[in-house]
């Protein structure tokens, strides 16, 4: 997903890709065709030691985010770290502290915030256009189809950072926090057996303004979207429709197309703007925002503190974990599943 936006930014002379780093040399090598001038490294410290980079994009598995981000910051690099920010809240604290100490920008990748419909729904909520918000329900589930290059996300790690909750979870939770403020976990259940990682999650959340539910799945097809119910209206955001929003104030829902453009260069003020409707376009806007944070001192779209809040909710959820109820299994298998669930191991 980053290949096209980075190529475009290189073409415009906004940045230059100087190094590609992957412990699996084949993965970095595959990218090299797109960035032939970039050096290829298997270790991040070697790449950073060359002193050729100002900005590090941390796109590795979540378990490596803290270590690599801190290493990059210590080498005077600004950092854009993909979601989730880290595997634990304490790692996030450390990353934020090092960013403050070194005076570098620490931005967290949450590309959905740039999508027009997502931003418009936040306006509706924050500006009270739906009245007093009473509840929300968020569902996102489908067969996992990202062409991942490593099994890291599917393997349990002692410190966390893998599984569905660290995959789709940050998208859902970051957005809900952006909409409703700090969230507390009222209940959480998943389907992971001991030594595995969850593929289905259900949770109840509370904020100071409303309560709601979240259901995520890697293998069940869910009705993907966020429904927000207020005293004056209701809105439905489909997680696969980036520029359309359905709103009902009375009667039935009506769909509206949203335009929302973001700076597409690093000029002050921006000379070009882009309304992102694809993941690659959103990543482009996010990278521009980071470049503007570095060059113009603007705040990044998602700060380390916001990234940490999302990880805090995930950690809090896991502390409350229960087995998901699976009444469609026969009796003996329901019992076996509960006995083998990671919380009972």
């Amino acid at each position: 997903l980053y290949r096209k936006p980075l190529k475009e930014l290189e073409r415009q002379g906004i940045l230059k890709v100087t190094a590609l780093v992957d412990r699996n040399a084949g993965n970095a090598g595959a990218l090299h065709a797109s960035f032939p001038r970039a050096a290829v490294h298997e270790e991040l410290d070697r790449a950073l030691a060359t002193g050729q980079s100002d900005l590090a994009l941390i796109l590795s598995p979540a378990q490596l985010h803290a270590e690599q981000t801190i290493l990059a910051l210590r080498h005077d690099n600004h950092v854009l770290c993909e979601k989730p920010m880290a595997a634990t809240e304490s790692q996030c604290d450390e990353m934020i502290a090092v960013a403050q100490e070194t005076g570098r920008v620490l931005a967290i990748g949450m590309i959905r915030r740039f999508f027009p419909a997502f931003a418009r729904l936040r306006e509706l909520v924050v500006h009270g256009e739906l009245g007093q918000i009473g509840s929300f329900s968020y569902s996102e589930g489908r067969a996992f189809d990202w062409d991942v290059k490593s099994p890291a996300g599917f393997t349990r790690h002692p410190q966390g950072g893998s599984g569905l909750l660290f995959d789709i979870g940050p998208h859902a939770l970051d957005y809900l926090i952006w909409l409703f403020g700090a969230l507390e976990v009222a209940s959480y259940a998943d389907d992971s057996l001991a030594g595995g990682v969850e593929g289905n999650v259900v949770m109840e959340l509370e904020s100071s303004v409303c309560t709601g539910s979240v259901q995520l799945s890697w293998d069940f097809p869910l009705k993907n979207g966020l429904r927000v119910v207020g005293s004056d209206g209701e809105a439905v955001l489909r997680t696969d429709e980036f520029d359309r929003l359905a709103i009902r104030r009375a009667g039935s829902f009506s769909e509206v197309t949203i335009d929302r453009a973001y700076p597409a260069d690093v000029c002050e003020p921006a000379r070009r703007r882009l309304c992102p409707r694809l993941y690659t376009e959103s990543i482009y806007c996010q990278l521009i925002q980071v470049a503007r944070a570095i060059q113009l001192g603007e705040p990044p779209a998602v700060t380390g503190e916001e990234g940490r809040e999302c990880v805090r909710v995930i950690e809090s959820a896991r502390r409350r974990a229960q087995p998901i109820e699976m009444p469609w299994l026969d009796g003996p298998r329901q019992e076996a599943y509960r006995a083998l669930h990671w919380t009972n191991a």
Partner: protein, 371 residues
């Protein structure tokens, strides 16, 4: 049973089979998938499953993965040409890996509309089936039959009809059609629903794995009850708030063509299909995104549509499936394996509804979900 290796383990049937083996304490379960992304539906089961990466069409890659297996279950699906290639590759790899038993999943779709009530489990497939998937399954069966006698291991071919229930893509397509009020019956729904509940199919596969004796042969597998398409739709319709008395019926005498059906027909032509798969990787993101949205169908903000479709757009595959005339007998399998389906139709529907409720589908307040 010793080590069971499942090819295509991340699919609908595979996931359920692996889950049941793990929950029942099967000590050695080996799941074979083609790509890392396929680990997602299995990851929750943790180290109870040994996962191996291999392309089922790559015989050399398969051999080390299959070695040490006491039974191999072939659940590979995908593009039609791939089904035939992978079947051949698996046959050869099983021989090279000295696997004692291969269980291959075929499909009752190879018998078209099941023209005779006396169709034997060894009856040949309908020749030149119009549906590429059915044609591929039939071709694979022919290859298996040719090589079965000489194979240095036992080959069992199971032939389920429509696999329905929890996680079933087919069931979900019916659920969505009901919610969008665009369902229809063919010939008043009197055709036979040759289905098998997912847990019953899993039980059949496991009966083959566990059977200590001779298991070589072709077997139809099915639920116990004789169910019509009207019965099947009605079982789901009420709980989903669909009034069966308003379901339109189309003629079974002649397929009612529509522009959408014509597009689908063209898409299925081998040359177009091949071209599409080659072009797919080169399409710009915007176009891929539009195609994906178009295929995903309508999004009902209210949870279900308010108006019933009276002149439905008929899907060619659905039309043919609803015209099945006879129930395929699973008596041979029951006799040989001493098998009785563990789940009744009624119980299967109950479990399916419980699953739908979990997914967030609103069920009618009158729905009874207790045993």
């Amino acid at each position: 049973m010793g080590t069971v290796t499942i090819l295509g383990a991340a699919g609908f049937v595979g996931t359920r089979l692996v889950e049941s083996l793990v929950l029942d304490g099967q000590p050695e379960v080996r799941a074979v998938v083609r790509a890392y992304r396929s680990l997602a539906p299995l990851a929750r089961l943790g180290p109870a499953v040994t996962v191996r990466l291999a392309d089922a069409e790559d015989r050399a890659a398969l051999v080390p993965v299959l070695q040490g297996s006491d039974a191999v279950v072939n659940l590979i699906t995908g593009p039609p040409a791939g089904i035939i290639r992978s079947t051949q590759s698996i046959l050869e790899a099983c021989a090279a890996a000295k696997v004692p038993k291969l269980i291959h999943l075929s499909s009752a779709v190879i018998y078209g509309d099941v023209a005779s009530p006396f169709l034997d489990d060894d009856a040949p497939p309908v020749p030149r089936h119009w549906m590429p998937y059915a044609h591929a399954k039939a071709t694979a069966e022919v290859r298996l039959r040719q090589q079965m006698a000489d194979a240095p291991y036992q080959v069992t071919v199971l032939r389920p009809g429509i696999v329905w229930g929890v996680r079933s893509p087919h069931t979900m397509s019916i659920v969505h059609a009901l919610l969008e009020k665009r369902s229809y019956l063919v010939g008043e729904g009197q055709g036979v629903f040759n289905g098998i509940f997912i847990d019953n199919l899993v039980a059949c596969i496991r009966a083959c794995c566990d059977h200590p004796g001779e298991v070589r042969g072709f077997y139809n597998v099915a639920d116990e009850e004789l169910i019509t398409w009207r019965d099947f739709y009605a079982a789901l319709a009420g709980p989903l708030g669909y009034d069966m008395s308003r379901m339109p019926s189309v003629s079974g005498a002649r397929f009612p063509w529509s522009s959408r059906a014509a597009v689908e027909y063209i898409q299925l032509l081998p040359i177009v299909n091949g071209l599409y798969h080659r072009l797919k990787t080169r399409l710009p993101d915007t176009m891929k995104s539009r195609i994906k949205k178009w295929l995903s169908g309508r999004y009902e903000y209210e949870g279900h549509a308010s108006r019933y479709v009276t002149k439905p757009t008929v899907d060619r595959e659905v039309w043919h499936l609803q015209k099945v005339r006879h129930k395929l007998s699973a008596a041979k399998f029951a006799r040989h394996f001493g098998y009785t389906p563990p789940v009744t139709f009624e119980e299967g529907i109950r479990r399916t509804l419980l699953w739908l409720a979990f997914l967030g589908y609103h069920l009618s307040p009158t729905t009874v979900l207790t045993e």
